[in-house]
């Protein structure tokens, strides 16, 4: 049976300007898993992890890490947590090695140059150890932030938008790092805008919007629910009305009459595309082009919110 590491009950947060960032959120995160928190800007992702890490005070509710309360037993909970912020917030003039060692000290651990060396080597930072932080590239700074978060050997790591604004190569590098950490037994919670990211690395996904947890599910299940794709068929001649034979495909006819849109489940073995195209041909329509597109995150949110309301 899976063991719960973080338990969130009825967590709410209202800021001084009356903005309700979290509305009675409930969530459980299991030991050893990679959990991705998805949501658009301002959904409440950063607020939630900031509360767990001690950066923001909850308005109400309860959060426990490994059975300890984050408010009354904050020293116990925080010593188990590593946090990588979204922004590249580093001092400019310290060296990489000094700065990572400093963070280890803050978390109440005695100096351990061997451990810091291991982390820096794992993150390909060892050759930069004597460089000042201000001299590093954005990607390297992000690695330093991860090194700092791991300096005190945490059992749970929070990554707030770890791949926001980074190039594809670094993003895939980050995914490899995250997977390696999970293999070493670290529980990982990350926030992201990118559904591909959640698909690539997360065991479970939570979707948060407008301060409410809309859905929490295993990634594979969520992906199959979200896996709608759209096929757009461009026509050579304008169509005023769809023939009866195409009714079963629930096609959307564009207002200009020059294109048809067909939604299908990409995970399904039988998408119906072959039959559809045959029917289109049989009905005398001539094609000029075909285009497929993945549903956007926005489409997915709309769909999920709609389902919740139902």
């Amino acid at each position: 049976m899976l063991e719960t590491l973080i338990s969130i009950k009825n967590l709410s947060k209202t800021y001084n300007n009356s903005f309700e960032a979290l509305k009675s959120v409930n969530l459980e995160i299991n030991k050893g898993e990679i959990f991705a928190l998805l949501g658009p800007n301002g959904a409440g992702k950063t607020t939630m992890i900031s509360i767990i890490c001690g950066l923001v005070r909850p308005t109400s509710g309860e959060v426990k890490v490994n059975g300890s309360d984050i408010v009354s037993e904050y020293k116990i909970t925080r010593s188990q947590i590593g946090y990588v912020p979204q922004e590249l917030t580093l001092e400019q003039f310290e060296t990489v090695f000094q700065n990572v060692s400093y963070t280890r000290g803050l978390y109440g651990k005695s100096s351990n140059p061997k451990h810091i060396e291991k982390i820096l080597k794992d993150l390909s930072l060892w050759d930069k150890k004597s460089m000042r932080l201000g001299q590093l590239s954005g990607g390297m700074k992000r690695r330093v932030l991860i090194a700092k978060a791991l300096s005190h050997e945490p059992s749970v790591l929070f990554l707030d938008e770890p791949t926001a604004g980074v190039d594809v190569e670094l993003r895939q590098d980050m995914w490899r790092i995250v997977e390696k950490l999970r293999q070493s037994g670290v529980t990982i919670i990350l926030t992201t805008h990118y559904i591909e990211e959640a698909e690539a690395i997360a065991d479970r996904v939570g979707v948060i919007d407008n301060g409410e947890m809309i859905v929490v599910d295993e990634t594979s299940k969520l992906i199959s629910r979200m896996g709608q794709k759209k096929l757009t068929i461009q026509l050579q001649e304008k169509v005023m009305q769809l023939p009866e034979s195409l009714a079963k495909y629930n096609l959307e006819l564009a207002s200009d009459g020059f294109s048809l849109a067909y939604s299908y489940d990409k995970e399904s073995k039988q998408t119906g595309i072959t039959n559809l195209l045959q029917q289109v041909k049989d009905s005398g329509m001539k094609l000029s082009d075909l285009k497929t597109e993945q549903g956007t995150l926005e489409d997915i949110f709309v769909s999920l919110v709609h389902k919740e309301k139902k």
Binding site: R57, Y74, R78, Y83, T89, E94, Q98, G105, Y107
Partner: protein, 253 residues
Amino acid sequence: MNYYAIKAIYLHEMDRLWRTLFQSILSPVVSTSLYFIVFGSVIGGMVPQVDGVSYGSFIVPGLLMLTLLTQSLSNSSFGIYMPKFSGSIYEILAAPISSFEIVIGFVGASATKSLIVGSIILITATFFAEVRIDHPFVMVFLLVLTCLTFSLFGFLIGILSENFEQLQVIPLIVVTPLVFLGGSLYSIEMLPEFWQQVSYFNPVVYLINGMRWAFYGVSDINIWTSVFTMLGFLLICIVSTIFILTKGYRIKS
């Protein structure tokens, strides 16, 4: 108690001193030396003895206090403001550290830096004036007390400041005038009666006179009045700091 965290903050702050050696140590030494040259040697030659002490020697405790106050304020206010400004304060807030431990780390480092600078200023003063210390233990006590109190006050300024202007405004607009009008370069007995009475409302008068008593055994104010005034101000700073950090004012949402 998270001793490793206190040590980490303390050493991190002390590192800043070594990185900015010119700004931290040489700059106050040079500016204080200029005071000694201009006021002590040049003007002092034209001023008769004050309270039985040559003018050059008379201004040593005041200039020492001037340096300690300004250094303590700027060290600690910058120390806590810079992580706020860069955003790196998140790691202090997310670490298993109590407010008390944070204060010990920052204020301890700031007070240490001020003591180092103060000691260098004192040695420098001996090149320009005859310096005598009648009550060395009281002097050391007042040095430490002043450094701690004003480092704590600076820490508060750093926490409350939302930009660099606010960070500078209290030291420049409030503290520097108080120090100059606090008798660092003169005895308040030299002032007209009215201004003497006004001076008693200036807390820095008590500090400088306390230090002057420790050096030469002369003071416009009783030494115990000076010490208790300092302790009272320290208490106000401690209570304010605890209140602000507990509430997370301007550092936590």
